[in-house]
Symmetry: C2
Subunit: 204 residues, 2 copies
């Protein structure tokens, strides 16, 4: 399955939830296409790929649509995650208000620095040696990596050895991982360079 | 120009800088391809698109290559940015250690909350009313938006009215902006949903 399709499903989902909050019970592929910037044909094609069908005019019942998307994205159960690296970015993510609402639960943070270890906060910060146990106990398969570049590969290896199957990587480097491990990277420098380029080359 | 090509240029650049730090003066398209996960032909094609040429065997002089890439990406001058929203994520980004090294300078943060306004830190946190002046004075064209979802559209509009041409958006919604404004979004929930899907569907 293409990464972009799954990203679009997430975007449809967030739009449909907003419509539901507004008391709207039916939605058309045109509306969803407009909201996320694709054609209505694309919307119908994406849904039909996962066996989600609407009526003949491209209309969908909001409740059924959400059930279908949630099932594809695995949102019918909570996604437990850990955070490795409890510096400023890691700590900000621990408190990220949107995770809770979206069924994402940070079960623990991990840090190499003994000074950061604490079980007093809402989410405990634990030593690396506890990682394997926490992952097993909480059935965690996703880890967020928020450590400095120099430590990133080593801590990615450690997370994988402890049972992590997917990593959201904030360190600005290309992690080397086994083929079955999923890595998505958020590289803020590259995002800003990219914006800068397109500001300076508007006609491209 | 395609967004992916510019992202690859950023990745080449970071690899070549690392090689330079190691004292290496020549690099081949094969090496760069391996490092970022594309073919050597792709590397040569990307470079030639910007008039960067190597020798017949796909070799490049590191210093010349960096000069060429930096010029394309506009890295020959500092990119001044502002941050709107000085909560935990915004404050973490103010201190992000990789920005400095990469020629990205956060000149100020802005917040609606008077309790957060302070000029005591290394980077000042200012009221929204100062934004236009700071943008003009520092020739800022890029703004990072790190505010809650409910405030995001309004503050994006305000940044654009104050002179911002490109936004790195951390709020989980699709911003409505004029056609000439560049928006890149970092949506952490979608990244995690995406990882979750591919962990649960490894054969796709």
């Amino acid at each position: 399955m293409n990464r972009n399709i799954i990203t679009r499903l997430s975007l449809y989902r967030s739009t449909v939830y907003r419509l539901k909050d507004m008391g709207i019970n039916k939605v058309f592929s045109d509306n969803l296409g407009e909201a996320i910037g694709v054609t209505s044909a694309q919307v119908r094609k994406d849904f039909s790929l996962f066996g989600i069908t609407g009526n003949r005019r491209g209309g969908y019942v909001v409740a059924e649509l959400l059930e279908g998307i949630d099932s594809v994205l695995g949102k019918d159960s909570v996604q437990n995650v850990i955070i490795t690296g409890c510096g400023k970015i890691g700590m900000a993510l621990m408190d990220y208000p949107h995770f809770d609402r979206e069924g994402i639960k940070v079960v623990a943070g991990f840090d190499i620095d003994p000074g950061k270890i604490s079980t007093k906060g809402k989410i405990p910060v634990l030593p690396l040696s506890d990682m394997k146990g926490v992952i097993e106990e909480n059935k965690v398969s996703t880890g967020i990596l928020a450590v400095p570049e120099v430590a990133a590969q080593q801590l990615a290896d450690l997370m994988i050895a402890a049972g992590i199957n997917g990593i959201l990587n904030f360190a600005p480097l290309n992690l080397r991982v086994p083929e079955n491990i999923i890595v998505n990277s958020v590289n803020l420098v590259i995002e800003l360079e990219n914006i800068n380029y397109f500001i300076n080359h508007p006609v491209d």
